[in-house]
């Protein structure tokens, strides 16, 4: 690209590219930090529900006992939020790599972001509204 072409770039293209670069740098950093936190959250969660307890014992009353302590509600909510953000951002990388058609890519991203937001709301409602005072 010649200097002339560069200076003739449409107005606004430089700030755009710059904000995109800033976003990608932030995204790169977020993946490392959230990954580090998820390393502990996800492995502790899996160990508690599959290794130290058998999965068949993780019934409603098991959750009720655990969620009686707000610490575990916060723990599980963090796992939900960071897991979805880290996972959806990872899926975004995959779509950028393999879906080359811009319209298809935009459509797929719209669907996956909507799904992530919907599941985040569903998960948050579950964690906040669960009372656990059922018999059995």
């Amino acid at each position: 690209m010649s200097i002339l072409e560069r200076s003739a770039a449409r107005p606004g293209s430089t700030p755009n590219r710059r904000s995109r670069q800033n976003f990608e740098t932030w995204s790169w950093f977020f993946m490392r930090i959230s990954g580090l936190v998820l390393f502990f959250l996800a492995l502790i969660h899996f160990s508690l529900t599959h290794i130290f307890n058998d999965v068949t014992t993780t019934t409603v009353s098991f959750v009720a006992k655990r969620w009686a302590n707000p610490f575990w509600r916060v723990f599980d909510w963090l796992l939900l939020a960071l897991g979805l953000l880290h996972g959806t951002n990872g899926l975004r990388f995959i779509m950028d790599d393999y879906v080359r058609n811009p319209r298809k890519r935009a459509a797929i991203k719209a669907v996956m972001y909507s799904l992530a937001v919907a599941l985040f709301i569903l998960g948050t409602i579950t964690i906040v509204t669960f009372r656990g005072n059922f018999s059995g």
């Binding site: 490392r32 390393f39 899996f46 058998d54 999965v55 019934t59 998960g123």
Partner: protein
């Protein structure tokens, strides 16, 4: 992108990357399913019925697969962080990959025995 900027040349780094992607994708798919099944908590009967399915041998095998994916993705993620934040460490990249892969296999076998045992002995710990 210039050719010099390509780090992967079809060796361990390439396989580590491919496996990181596949395991990340599969773990995410499980998370999506898991958020939906946990949302049944306010309908205890349905929740308990769904969770009873997790004790089925096929689901237990699936959980061992999930353990493999989770442990590999977690350990390889640390390897990626190591390379990114300590660029000098890239010369050990290969042995670190073999290390974390062996550890993944070991933890999957140990965890796999614990996860599958109740199905064969019929007892739940």
């Amino acid at each position: 992108m210039s050719p010099e900027s390509t780090v992967y040349k079809g060796k361990t780094g390439q396989w580590a990357f491919v496996l990181h992607r596949i395991t990340g994708f599969l773990v995410l798919m499980f998370i999506l399913l898991h958020i939906v099944d946990v949302s049944m908590l306010n309908f205890p009967r349905i929740y308990n019925e769904i969770h009873a399915l997790y004790g089925n041998v096929l689901m237990r095998l699936f959980e061992v697969g999930l353990l493999f994916g989770l442990v590999y993705h977690a350990l390889n993620g640390l390897r990626v962080i190591m390379i990114d934040f300590f660029p000098g460490s890239i010369k050990n990249e290969k042995s670190v990959f073999y290390g974390i892969f062996s550890l993944t296999i070991l933890l999957t076998i140990v965890g796999g025995v614990i996860i599958l045992r109740p199905f064969f002995t019929g007892s739940v710990h």
